[in-house]
Symmetry: C2
Subunit: 169 residues, 2 copies
């Protein structure tokens, strides 16, 4: 990335903040996100699921036994929207919903073995692309990548993200 390294190592150099650079960053996000979702999308299509199912599987796997409400906060959708997805996942035997032990109004969500299998397939496809990108860019670039992404999140979301990270680091 020729002109990227031009702005790197600058310090007082603010070329990386020009509108042109920022617009390029915006386009890079757009195109990269497409690549980021492309591989799981192909797998999901075979099973008749969409990205919404992937997100649910991902975060249920990530925080075993999470409640519906917690998932709503993480995903930032309405309960009706999540419920539609969750219902099909439960019906299809990918997710198990257990009545909460402490608070019986709550439902604790878990992946079944079948759900875990699909989650791993989806995740592996996505991780494979990340792995290739990380390897191509190198550890220092990856650190910068994560720094910028984290700075781009909404404050509240960053807190959730950080918690999630800390809990399983």
């Amino acid at each position: 990335m020729a002109e990227g390294s031009t702005s790197a190592m600058g310090g007082e150099n603010l070329l990386f903040l020009t509108d042109e650079q920022l617009r390029k960053g915006i386009e890079a996000m757009f195109f990269a996100y497409r690549g980021f979702t492309a591989d799981p999308d192909r797998i999901l299509e075979v099973h008749g699921y969409g990205r919404a199912h992937h997100r649910a599987l991902h975060f249920i796997n990530r925080t075993h036994g999470t409640t519906v409400n917690n998932l709503l906060n993480i995903l930032g959708v309405t309960k009706q929207s999540l419920n539609r997805v969750l219902r099909t996942l439960i019906e299809d035997g990918l997710v198990e919903s257990r009545v909460g032990r402490k608070d019986r109004r709550e439902r604790n969500l878990f992946l079944t073995e079948k759900g875990d299998t699909l989650e791993r397939a989806l995740s592996e496809a996505q991780r494979e692309r990340m792995r290739a990108a990380y390897r191509a860019a190198g550890p220092q670039a990856v650190a910068g990548f994560r720094q910028v992404l984290e700075a781009m999140m909404d404050d509240e979301i960053r807190r959730q993200y950080t918690n999630m990270r800390d809990r399983r680091a």
Copy 2:
């Protein structure tokens, strides 16, 4: 980002390629993309438009006089889908569609003054967030960010992205 810098500067250190690190990267992409789209989304809602309109405005502004076909390739949607968006933008007087001079089957797309105004408002909101993130992370991180994003794109897309960059660098 404490543990990010742990893996940075490693070289032979491959900690940044562990599944856990990759999963964190995946989540960072997910959350960051939400932040990335949040500000323009709010503006679009006021005008009764969606992200699809934003994308069209962005790329029409980016490559003045682009054809519909070219836009289809960049956006990666069907012409019917794009056409619906384009039609409303033209009806609302944000986009002008001129019959091609060389090839009169083609339509060359331009922003009107009104379209340019909205595009700048959307873009400025998005750039403001990028600017803040870039400033917080610093030029070296930004270079890494761009490297990883570029490596994450599909090959064909990366070619388009690179062309677009070179043409207006």
